[in-house]
Amino acid sequence: MIEDKQGGEANTSTQPQGREAQGRSHADSRQIRKARRRNHAWVSRVFLIVHLICVLLPLGVIVAWSFTASWPWPDLLPQQLSSRGLVELFLSRQGLGPVLAQSIAIALASALLATIIAACAARALAFHDFFGKELFRFATVLPFLIPSTVFAMGIQVLFIRAGLANTAVGVVIAHTIVALPYAIAIMSEVTVAAGQRLEQQARVLGASSLRTCLHVQIPQLLPGILSAASMVYIISFSQYFLTLLIGGGAVKTLATVMFPFLTSGDRTIASAYGLVFLLSTLMVFFLFEMLLKRFASREVSYFEG
């Protein structure tokens, strides 16, 4: 203590120098911070470049391939351009529109169904005690452990009996089951993080459970809900084998139409489908993002307020 006091006095008696020293130390710290930032900038630039190489380059190749007839090794650029991809997409008999619409509809329906189920399951796991809870928790990740091909074989028989085979509804249900573990994992996290604090508050202020859900819980959980929905959407949208088996060829999605071209090595058409696949997914995700901005425009925080 005493030493501190002396130090303080010394400072006041030599104020001009003290101030200079202060100024100097400010400049120093600014330089240090700048230097650090420069280091960070260097690291992030490397990451950006790696990212571009890993993601955008293959994408570029797909875009190029969808307009290319042949691109033999070791040529750097495609040799012959082709409109075969465009013709297949827009002028073929089966038509892109209905297939794309059906794919999106199935994926959206799966996303809706799975997210609702996941939200309920996550809530049960987070806040309720019941007999066999740990078994139930384990059961929610079971579809993770069983390969979807095995699962598809098993469920097909059941679906045929139930009359769900070869129908879009059956495909939606199958997709939902496969994607559920992911949705439950996401929803569990956000449900636990959100807790029951605001829900209790709403209830004691006169809100019924339905209105609490509408006015408080859904807005609070919206970021998680949309993450889960996006996850299920993309899983459903890219599902091939399951769709083929349950849909029995009657239910056509973009993935099932695209797959034969991939396996037969028709890169032009496969790439063209890939492009549609990518763009439509991006579009739907963009819509989700808009939804989030619209309905959770105000800052949502789990840990404050």
Binding site: Q201, L205, G206, A207, R298, E299, E304
Partner: protein
Amino acid sequence: MEMKVQEITVSLGRRVKRTILDSVSFDVKEGEFLSLLGASGAGKSTLLKVIAGITVQDSGSIIFDGQAIDHLAPHRRNIGFVFQDTRLFPNMNVEENVAFPCKMAGMSRKERMERAHTLLECVQLDGFGNRQVTSLSGGQQQRVALARALAAQPRVLLLDEPFSGLDEDLRDDMRSLLLRLHRDFGTTTIMVTHDAVEALEMSDRIVYISLGCVEQDGTPMELYAQPQTKEIAACFGDCSTLEGSVSDGVFLASSLQLAAEGMADGPAEAVVRYQAVSLREAGVDVGHHATRRPLLIRCSVYRGDTHLARVDVEGQTLTVPAEQSFIPGMAVDVVVDDQGYFIYPM
């Protein structure tokens, strides 16, 4: 509104049932400000949640104006609840938060916005209606929570340690604001607190709860002047607790003796308030003092307005406020005021 809490018992826990509240009963009069005082973990908050309907009791009954409300869901009980952590809805602005209970009660938009406006004025936050709740300071958030709890004219206002998350200087302002609101609105209020001085300052009546049981139910003066248990006597702070024994109506700890009339012989504890004790230099005869032999000063600490001398009572500490600091090892006699100590059997 008149309210009765009747023999509320609550046990929580899945495998091992733990009794949180054990047959708690008390009455609350119309317009009364009642504090539930007790150490943390005593079950005060649980009791508040039972009244609100968030926690369901194992047995017992909550009665509003002569009618049991145990079967009513929380949202049908018409109560206002302020939690310690404010719990404002982050997806609504200040105004919408305050208007929320009115919206749930079915008020029209115009009406409830007017109501929100009035209440924000009452808590000195007019002009804050359009602000985001995250942009407010802790004290402002708590005031919004208070306004929201009062918005739908609740039958009873429940407050769960409403000020313990705030800075000390803010707490005083909030206390007077709450008392003013209580005066203006006349809402029957139950506040949970572990701050005994806060309870003294604010309440018409205090119910002291310890380990799930009511230990004393009385006015602030009664609790302060006639605490029923050692815990209550000690909860107001600034006191020393000494272990000793009673024989022939006298409590004895080392050479310190205190009158304990009407108490059975046996081991006992004394709670001695700081301000009831003073020190005399040993050997200076001032007549009546409580020590048979002089005691030794262990140390002395500075506390701003006073010094606190720690007197050694056979390994136990008796703290005494003093005008000057004492040298460790000094021998002193102790004088104890009759009103400022309480003796309880152990």
